[in-house]
Symmetry: C3
Subunit: 425 residues, 3 copies
């Protein structure tokens, strides 16, 4: 880092953040052992990809310490990755780990140090404080009661993948009936049930609706009449041909967008994932993508709902320019973080540069952690801050000769200000 | 900038340019008020995207000063963008603006200073001189009389979108009949009319034919016989099914290419735009794109017309490698500038690096302004020169140890020499 | 280069490499005259693209010296390219050429100096030694006898494009019959013939099977029964409709994969080339691509053959993120070099950064030369080492504060260690 870059980075580290997308379980937000950390799919899938058989880490009878030991055997093959750099940063910061590498010789000491820290009563508080996280958005199943935790700290978000893409599965409908008291048999009851979900979520401080979408999906306004027969077949336990399943998905999706409008909730779109491409992969390490996707597929949606804000994440890095351009033209399209396979430093830097050059600064949500355990907020946001501060230093302070404070203010808006305003927190 | 970078940049600023593509109105080339400048679609669309209602800037009863005042309210949200950097550069250079930002407090003074400058009788001359622009290519409607201006300074270019994609609209054919004296009723009269346009344009010093194309378009040799029935239906005011409209577009396009060959005109292809994607957007702020496009769609065209030079612009940055590769293989394919959504510094740099590494240096047209008002030539070409001089400094002087003069000569060829040779000006 | 970058580069230059993909003719590996070097398709196609008529370099009656003279006329237009930089590096290193440029004034001296060097009896040995190449993989036709050369130095590789995509051509089947003694008339004899090829190749130390694939191809398990009628039609000299030709290609391809599994050979997939796009182009300068391709097309293959390692090369730079992501998830997918239109410094750097950030370090094959003549190994690998050492310096030594030796070890693994392990040499 140049001294300028370091100064901007330090300033961006100084203020607390709101994490607008995570998979935190608010009832067990922090880790209990290093296995919670090294069991993150990024490590299991990379270790598996590097040669570790799935059975060695996924048998139910493997204890947490044993699991970490087995993963450590493969760590040397992953040391180059950005993901392992998160792990090192996290272990240094939280557990005082000072070795250059995690090895078969030193991991047990690290494991025990981590366990000791995690056993402290206020560990969760410590992590949030050290990580400078004020609030963390969740990803809640639609039948989550949303009780037993502080929804001002852990902000609910209604996740809707199952409703849109797995409505034909009996479990989806049973859970919906149980959560809302409404048996869906036609389009009227479907709309009622969805309305009940939104009412429940908004009552519990939900600040967004969210969904991940396959590259093939194109939202369209499919009305209740069109799916009436389809819904009855589903209710009767019948199968759907693909064209009808598509219509039903489009209908449910459009109904969700209508409820976002009604309840003034932003609708997070996470575009581009193909599920279970590698079905024999480890847990959560099976999904991939097809880069042949376009935001033109969302044209009708963006036009139909000018009153709904769509924070859009794209999985393929090749989609970033479309995202930049659609956010530059459509008032209701906002750039949102750096998702999954695009969440590595070189792509974050390319994408951040393009966004900051062409999207209004009030329409960029810089980053979210996507984390399952609180400890990952720190290294992930730090990676992003390192890149953002570099871009600010190069582009604004050096090239455009902005005063440093002005560049820092831009960074603050992208890191925090826009999250507050766009989600209304 | 390093000292080396600065030296090269200064050298590239020293010589005058020919702008090979703009939308300048030669009868009103320079601006009259700051509203002509801030009314550029880049500012209206970005301000609208940032939250300014369209009605606040597009009602016909808003005067120019009022319009600027309303746009200034939103300027703070756009300060990060490359487009606003053009505005600042332009205001500093032409109007002596020395403030760090344009605000509600200082914009009126700027407005008045600009008006005073623009009122000077030789303002147009001043702008051209300060901008170091020798000639500027236009984008002329096919029915433009091309009179009343100096065609050696403002070089005509035959724009053909309407002929290819809107031939079924009565207005298109009426304007064609009026311009050529030929009523198109079949393929023979169509060819005659197109021939008349080319003759008219070439007589008035036109140096290129140009068209923008949607991602879905694939040129094919569709002969007159094939479209005979279609043309009669059109002449009779009938509707076309999409397949017939496509055949007609392909026929007109191919006929244009044949006339480019006959009249030895380069055919500028601007590939990849979808029109009116956001129909409620501001004027000229409604178009977007679908990155799923390939130059393989132009395979037949490039093979069929070896004698026609095709300066190709691509809208999607993801198309740049195809452009590089097709220009590297096809003698008649030339890289042309950085278009619209790809015209931001980070993409220009990526694309410039790839082109300069792999396309023969006599086949690269570095940049065009695409401007509507003369004042934009300066900041836009300067942005490009800043990037080009950086690439020349890094790649040739530093890495390959070329003498600086040799790197500068390469820059001259890309900035000016190739424009002269390829368009024959 | 910074001093750090230089130190890492020097270290990466110090150890010998194994080139895992080339088109070397082991019976005439080194060049005889400068025409062998400047006749490389990179120079003929670029010179042709820059304006040199094909006839001026491809008439059979042009002697080598005359050919070089004609190419030199166009060299000035190519001086900017990375490809010409290879030529300059090569001429400096091997022939003591010290001029800044190759011109009509100095080329004959260079030609003669090269001829003198190449006439030395041990020229081939000298080139290998100076280039620090231990072994070079070949690309062998399936009917190559594989005799008359040292297969430990020039490692055979079974190239299978003709079998998969040109099986309907009589020549393909005749050559197969001659090589194996098996007349293919149905799926059983086809399998036998392919088995015979693998046995022959493995006996002669082959270490890989390889194929280049068009963007449209999707492997599928098509069994013998499905193609029985098709094979009979082919054997009877009949034509195939495209759907049947596709089935046959898929059947042959799948059968090859099965034999890779049986013989434990990695299967190099080179994905994305369209052949003869510019049919009037110079020899080997006619192929291009369509970026609209996805590794999702290989989903079924990667799942079906977990025991086969697939070193994957992609032609489109826009495919690199998919390659990174598929290699990060699938244990049997390995990133392989920088192919053809992606083999230019700016793309190599982008792609190397993304791979090294997200793919386990034991799954990256850094580079192969793809060369036809031995002299190109040196400048091509040197270009790659320059980029790799820069990435190692920036990312690991500077950002992550690794000791230099550790970064060098990572470079060694990517440059050499993985080639040894993955191909078993």
């Amino acid at each position: 880092m140049t001294p300028l870059h370091q100064r901007l980075f330090d300033e961006l580290e100084r203020f607390p953040l709101i994490d607008p997308h995570s998979h935190i379980n608010p009832h067990a937000a922090a880790s209990k052992t290093l296995a919670d950390i090294m069991g993150y799919h990024y490590y299991t899938e990379l270790a598996h990809s590097a040669g570790l058989p799935k059975s060695k880490i996924e048998s139910p009878d493997i204890g947490p310490k044993e699991k970490v030991g087995r993963l450590v055997e493969k760590v040397a093959d992953l040391e180059n990755t950005a993901q392992l750099d998160w792990l090192m940063d996290l272990c240094r910061t939280f557990f005082g780990f000072e070795e250059e590498r995690i090895t078969s010789k030193n991991w047990e000491k690290l494991y025990d140090a981590a366990s000791a820290k995690m056993a402290q009563k206020d560990w969760e508080e410590q992590v949030l404080k050290i990580s400078r996280l004020d609030k963390v958005f969740l990803t809640n199943d639609y039948d989550d009661p949303l009780t037993g935790f502080d929804t001002r700290r852990y902000v609910p978000c209604l996740r809707t993948d199952d409703l849109v893409f797995h409505f034909t599965k009996p479990g989806t409908r049973e859970r919906l009936a149980k959560a809302t008291g409404i048996e869906v048999g036609d389009s009227v009851t479907l709309r009622k049930a969805i309305g009940a979900l939104f009412t429940h979520f908004v009552k519990h401080n939900a600040k967004a609706c969210a969904i991940s979408l396959p590259p093939s999906f194109t939202p369209r306004p499919v009305d209740g009449l069109t799916v009436e027969g389809i819904l009855r077949r589903v209710a009767a336990g019948g199968d759907l041909i693909p064209a009808d399943a598509e219509l039903l998905s489009q209908h449910v999706f459009w109904t969700l967008a209508e409820h976002c409008a009604e309840h003034k909730l932003p609708f997070d779109l996470m575009i581009g994932v193909n599920r279970k491409v590698y079905a024999a992969g480890v847990y959560q390490g099976q999904d991939l993508f097809d880069q042949r996707v376009s935001l033109i597929q969302y044209r009708e949606l963006f036009n139909a709902f000018p009153q709904v804000t769509f924070p859009v994440s794209v999985l393929a890095q090749t989609s970033n320019q479309e995202l930049v351009s659609y956010a530059w033209i459509f008032p209701n399209v906002v750039t949102n973080g750096h998702w999954w396979y695009s969440n590595i430093p070189s792509y974050i830097e390319l994408d951040t540069r393009a966004r900051i050059e062409a999207v209004p600064q009030n329409k960029q949500i810089g980053y979210y952690s996507d984390m399952y355990k609180l400890e990952f907020g720190l290294p992930k946001f730090r990676m992003y801050r390192r890149i953002l501060s570099k871009v600010l230093a190069d582009e604004y302070v050096t090239n455009r000769r902005w005063p440093e404070e002005r560049a820092i203010a831009l960074g603050q808006q992208i890191l925090r200000g826009n999250v507050e305003r766009i989600f209304g927190v």
